[in-house]
Symmetry: C2
Subunit: 500 residues, 2 copies
């Protein structure tokens, strides 16, 4: 395939430069918006050239993306000292450590909100958008690759745009995207998405072609997801959840096609979704932020009829299989801006069933998604809040213990709150499921302790609850003096268990 078919606007051919030349455009103090969502469709060559340049010439930037990046980009940029400020999400070990040392300022945001703040000038404007594409249209429109994320609004709102045209992606990705940008207020109208398969925008990012400052040609593939196979615990979690959903069907609250499904990134949510392949449900639909292997397992199992998201992040096995055959998914998959995939308006309208992973939750149903020990950032809240708050059913899943049992995921009080009791309907661990709907906090605690807690912690937790009711009472009984004792014990001894 020639460059002519990839860059269909002839006048743009003279903008082709080396990654180094493109990176040289980026100056100290600038705000850069890059494509990339859960490692998919990230800019690859320019950030690498930026990190290399920083070795010779110090500069620091604010970096915004869709979500996490692949190819160790966040690691390289951190090690090169380029990142002063990072938003709205990351999942890199090296960057995370720098954030927790206070060296990089990390603004942890709901994934639907970044471009909303950007559009209204509430956060610093973008100097350069660096966006991966599979093609540039006759009009200069940018056709994104395996993610849309925030790329569309970044490119539209940026002063200038650098395009990474990635030849390794199938040109057949064109047509998969649906770019819709909410109008400016006060003339904003409803977002017309009324079903997972609603197409309401254009297949490319419409920008003024003159804004394209540089085009870099790359051939590097997306980083692939490292997805562990389901294990005994995740299979058990999926089992509890499927049983619950079947029960909801029996009670007339859902039918066998369920409501549109969302599943957070990661092993547990992916496994839970895989579990649906063996369920009796049919004609399922996804309205999610990321499509993982499990989505395509469900397609192949004939269980899924449509999937909408902001990105596709696959293992190498599934990436080969899906992208070689992407034409077959053209009428089954839509990739949207994350503002739309995660928009409260649409999530509530469609009645999405949201399945997200908790780091820990407490006996009253508050969820910590982000902070280890209340202080240290793991990845970020991501889209979990967009979905949990607006979902028809807000489900959080976790393994009941971590670190070989040294850490209980069910605690007296979470050390950091990302999702309040108001936003959590269902909690599931391998031990069982707690249905919190319509329950007061005092009623939630026994159900969570009995159904979700690991047996090794059950008595300790029941004892805390009992004493909290007796000592302080209240709507949400707690003994503040010891609410964090488990966390403090872990910090000091490595385990939440007494005498461990």
């Amino acid at each position: 395939m020639s460059l002519e078919t990839r860059i269909r606007r002839k006048s743009l051919h003279d903008r082709i430069v080396t990654p180094e030349e493109a990176a040289a455009l980026i100056k100290d103090g600038m705000t850069i918006g890059m494509s990339g969502f859960t490692k998919a469709g990230d800019a690859k060559a320019v950030p690498l050239a930026m990190a290399q340049r920083a070795a010779k010439e110090k500069f620091r930037i604010t970096l915004m993306t869709g979500a996490s990046l692949g190819h160790d980009i966040d690691k390289m940029l951190t090690e090169a000292g380029v990142l002063a400020r990072r938003l709205p999400f990351q999942s890199d070990r090296v960057l995370r450590a720098a954030i927790n040392r206070g060296e990089v300022m990390f603004i942890d945001q709901h994934l639907s909100e970044t471009v909303e703040q950007l559009r209204s000038g509430q956060i610093s404007p973008i100097d350069y958008a660096v966006v991966e594409a599979v093609a540039i249209t006759e009009d200069g429109g940018i056709v994104p690759s395996t993610s849309v994320g925030n790329s569309a609004s970044f490119a539209i709102l940026a002063r200038k745009v650098i395009v990474e045209l990635n030849l390794s992606h199938s040109p057949e990705l064109e047509g998969l995207h649906d770019i819709y940008i909410p109008a400016k207020r006060p003339s904003r109208t409803p977002i017309p998405v009324v079903a997972c398969d609603s197409r309401v925008g254009s297949p490319y990012i419409p920008i003024e072609p003159d804004k394209i400052a540089a085009i870099v040609i790359t051939e590097k593939q997306d980083s692939t997801a490292r997805i562990s196979p389901p294990d005994a615990e995740t299979i058990s979690i999926a089992g509890h959840l499927i049983g619950f959903l079947q029960d909801e069907v029996r009670k007339g609250r859902l039918d066998m096609t369920l409501n549109p499904l969302q599943a957070g990134i990661g092993v547990i949510a992916n496994s839970v979704l895989s579990g649906l392949a063996d369920s009796p449900f049919h004609d399922l639909r996804m309205y999610s932020e990321v499509l993982q292997d499990s989505t395509f397992e469900l397609f192949e199992a004939g269980k899924l009829s449509f999937a909408s998201a902001a990105s596709m992040t696959l293992s190498s096995t599934w990436a080969d299989r899906v992208f070689r055959n992407i034409r077959a998914y053209k009428d089954k998959v839509i990739l949207r801006p994350q503002e739309v995939s995660n928009h409260p308006e649409i999530i509530r309208r469609l009645g999405v069933i949201g399945i997200n992973t908790a780091l820990e939750f407490d006996i009253y149903g508050n969820v910590n998604s982000t902070h280890v020990g209340g202080t240290d950032m793991m990845n970020g809240i991501g889209g979990s809040g967009d979905f949990a708050r607006n979902a028809f059913l807000s489900i959080f899943v976790a393994k009941s213990v971590a670190k070989g049992g040294a850490i209980s995921s069910v605690v007296p009080m979470v050390s950091h709150v990302d999702h309040t009791e108001h936003d959590v309907d269902i909690l599931v661990t391998e031990h069982g499921l707690a249905d919190l709907r319509g329950l007061a906090p005092r009623e939630r605690a026994p159900v969570i302790i009995r159904n979700c807690c690991h047996p090794a912690y059950r008595e300790l937790l029941a004892d805390y609850f009992k004493r909290a009711v007796a000592t302080r009472a209240g709507q949400t009984p707690h003994i503040l003096e010891e609410a964090f004792d488990w966390h403090v014990r872990r910090l000091k001894t490595g385990s939440m268990l007494t005498g461990a």
Copy 2:
């Protein structure tokens, strides 16, 4: 005015009964949905008769309302032992105490969500809706009074309806309401509200007339709001906020008509809104859940052009003035179901500026709206979450100290989280304003300590933050062992100050 013009469907005249006869329909174990939102438009005669009946014959019910009730109804029902379960909001001293003793199960919900859960059968169905009205139409449609709240969906979804026709309300209230009910999924379409003054529904609650089981005639007026006049602190809070908003205009993020305003119930938010009467802004609009005195002060000052909400709760002075003259407000005010007034879809679309009251907030911008000392329910989260999460600007206001300085509203860590750091843009006390947009937690803390904290606590708070950074570091530095020391000290000594 004769009953014929109030009950315009002749066949319903024989449904008129005494409050006692209506109350006798309500049986032990039933779920009852009553009108009433921030004391406005509550059912008055039937709940009183229920409480009286319970003195002779014990029965317990689940009671849902729009929000808080007037006329000590919650108090009387609590004392009569009628309330087994209560949702989604209350503000009564006696009920609150019973909730905190664990005698009444209280489900504290986002105000937009109750009828959503009810409609999908996720909480127990309503046996009787008891709804105050100013009229019943020829078709049996119910014209609500001073609030819509959840009345429309309660009446539509209930097995049977009891109407309290209140002759003390002006019949001129008819035409003020706009009843729109979202369609069932999966055929739900966008809610067509695109501006504060959008009329998208009917002026009455459409129900099958045969569902009206009883009509009770009353003449009792709404409880009036006890609104304290602005004091030095609330005037100062309003001043900081107005200065900030002017600055936003200068920066081009708002124009002089601002975005639609929401203000939570209560003295502080009301005073802040009053303060806008002397501001340079003009043609303001409200998209809120409750209209208080300040709304009509702004109308009279020529500052406000339109106000949309779910209820009107006025002091006796303003109630006289406004309701005598309600015809003049027909094209300036709309009362909507709280599902619409508080809907994430609309709040986000319109770009509402949400102003809500915090009980306490912490150095990282997490807000506690509900729980005193982390355990005891005050009123409930109400609509603050609906607005804070989806607002263009999410603002929380509080006086910096309470109980004569014994309690600081700015603490190291809130003892209960209702609004996470992700949902809080601006914090204001009488000492100043903290703009948290685009700041990482470590950057938020110094701004909050410097601008919002009372001087008596400033050094203590700065010391905690400094030591937390030095001891544990992290994205959100905390020393879990002492994060609640201030709260524990207050429990033990009555004051958060050391040596007090």
